[in-house]
Amino acid sequence: MTYFFQNLVNALQWGSFYALIALGYSMVYSILMLFNFAHGDIFMVGAYIGFGVATGLVALTSYGAIVLPGWMILVLTIMISMFLTSLVGVIVERVGYRPLRDAPRASAAITGLMIGIILETGNLAIMGATRVSFPPLIQSVTYDIGGVFVTNKKIMIVVVSLLFMFALHLFVQRSRWGMAMRAMAFDYVVVPLMGVPINTIAAMTFAIGSGLAAVAGILFGVAYPVLDPYMGIVFGWKAFVAAILGGRGSIMGATLAGFLLGFIEIFVAMAFPSTLRDLIAYSIILLILAFRPHGFFGEAYSARLRL
């Protein structure tokens, strides 16, 4: 039983990473009907920006230029990196996707893959082929809760992720921009005719998705402090699977499916050798999709019209 709870904690942590990234896929898909296949690499860029910001802040602290406790550095790192990664997302949208707004969807998919490769190899060119390690910002403390060992980092990762998901929920439900995003998901063409600047909304969507990916990247760096330029590929694909499983364009679906993915992976690894983990986990998901091709919350093929 304690073994079960031990894995539950791990599943929640991995689920948080998947869900945060999957949200970016889903939000962009819901308003522009395209999957941003560079999104996994945005996660990587976010992790690296976080690495840069955190390293810089740690250096400043050690020179005595500023005096900050580790958790404050983490908070600042998250805020600054979210902002910078959002800018990357906005540039990707402006340069890569906006010119293709009315092009066939395949063009956008190809562009996304190319942008991904540019981000990976660009990073390789700047940072070199060696892996970098994320600076340890918070001292790891392990709690023993009835035989289940939980670290403060794991708790922090899950709590911070849930906070951001809740903030996103409030944003989408209660702000005028969120309302515009929901409207664009149903009918994209009429939204500007109601006085809504859709290019702003599209840029905002990319910014938010990229910001959440940066949070995932930093939290990942806190838990597993080794970063490499190709770390976004596997994460990107898995989060993409979560977005599909949740139902294309559904925020609630992406969140739940992200966590479900974490659970399936961890619990498969409980019962089978770890080399078989992904094979079995993703076969299960394939099976779910065979019976529910539009995911948990997606609408069956919608006949949305675009001009």
Partner: protein
């Protein structure tokens, strides 16, 4: 000074001339009609004015300033509201949300307001809701405010489109076949609503219609469009007796 003035507007889709030398002057409070057979280019004219397409040639001024080349959301905010021939509602949003969405450019509370429900947000939301219920009341659908639009009957959906367009406080309202698919009772109601709306808001209204009876009763002046060209313009009586119009609608043999 006309509220909306269009001068020599021409539009090509590739090599196809969809609209040719189109002119229009609408004064505040006027109801104008645009009729013509299917494919004549009526909806294209709406799309050109509202900024979905850019006219190949010509000048459009709204309230004295040129609007060609502006983004559709800028034209909408400048005072041009519109409904659609094929209902374009946001299926799983409520009636009230539709009307609220059209207030987008008037909402001033930001992130803090959205997250924490500041007094400013409460005040603005209350104002928006009060206006929304007033409009829905005029349309006779206030009791449906919290319904998701996909569940509503067709006639009610048309009224939601109208309320949404009016919610922007337009100076001029474009109605693209506002009674398409309606039964006679709904048709009568819609005509009543259009008159009410014009009187209550002092709006100019420009409508596309297939039902001649409705256009003849509502409009002060009517244009007849055939193959992208206005072949006749005048009062309902003039249009009704114009041989070119009768020919376009009924065919040449019958006229002869």
């Amino acid at each position: 000074m006309a509220l909306l003035r269009i001068e020599n507007m021409t539009h090509y889709f590739g090599g196809l001339r969809a609209v040719h030398n189109y002119n229009l002057d609408i004064e505040p409070g006027q109801v104008r009609g645009l009729i013509g057979p299917n494919g004549a280019g009526k909806t294209t004219i709406f799309n050109l004015i509202t900024g979905i397409y850019q006219p190949s040639k010509g000048k459009i001024t709204l309230g004295g300033s040129g609007i060609v080349g502006l983004h559709p959301h800028q034209i909408a905010s400048a005072g041009l509201g519109r409904t659609f021939q094929d209902l374009r509602l946001w299926r799983h949003m409520t009636v009230l949300e539709h009307v609220k969405m059209a207030r987008y450019s008037k909402i001033t509370y930001g992130l803090i307001g959205a997250f924490f429900g500041t007094p400013k947000r409460r005040r603005e939301e209350a104002e928006i809701e009060e206006r929304a219920y007033h409009l829905l009341g005029m349309m006779g659908i206030a009791h449906l405010a919290d319904q998701v639009v996909v569940n509503l009957p067709y006639g009610a959906q048309r009224k939601v489109e109208m309320a949404r367009a009016l919610s922007m406080e337009p100076k001029i309202l474009f109605l693209d076949e506002p009674t398409a698919g309606m039964n006679p009772e709904e048709l009568r109601q819609m005509m009543e609503i259009i008159r009410q709306v014009r009187d209550a808001f002092g709006l100019a209204i420009f409508l596309i219609e297939h039902r001649l009876k409705m256009v003849m009763e509502l409009c002060e002046r009517i244009q007849t469009l055939v193959f992208g060209e206005v072949i006749a313009e005048g009062t309902p009586e003039e249009i009704q007796n114009n041989p070119k119009v009768i020919e376009a609608y009924l065919g040449k043999e019958i006229v002869e």
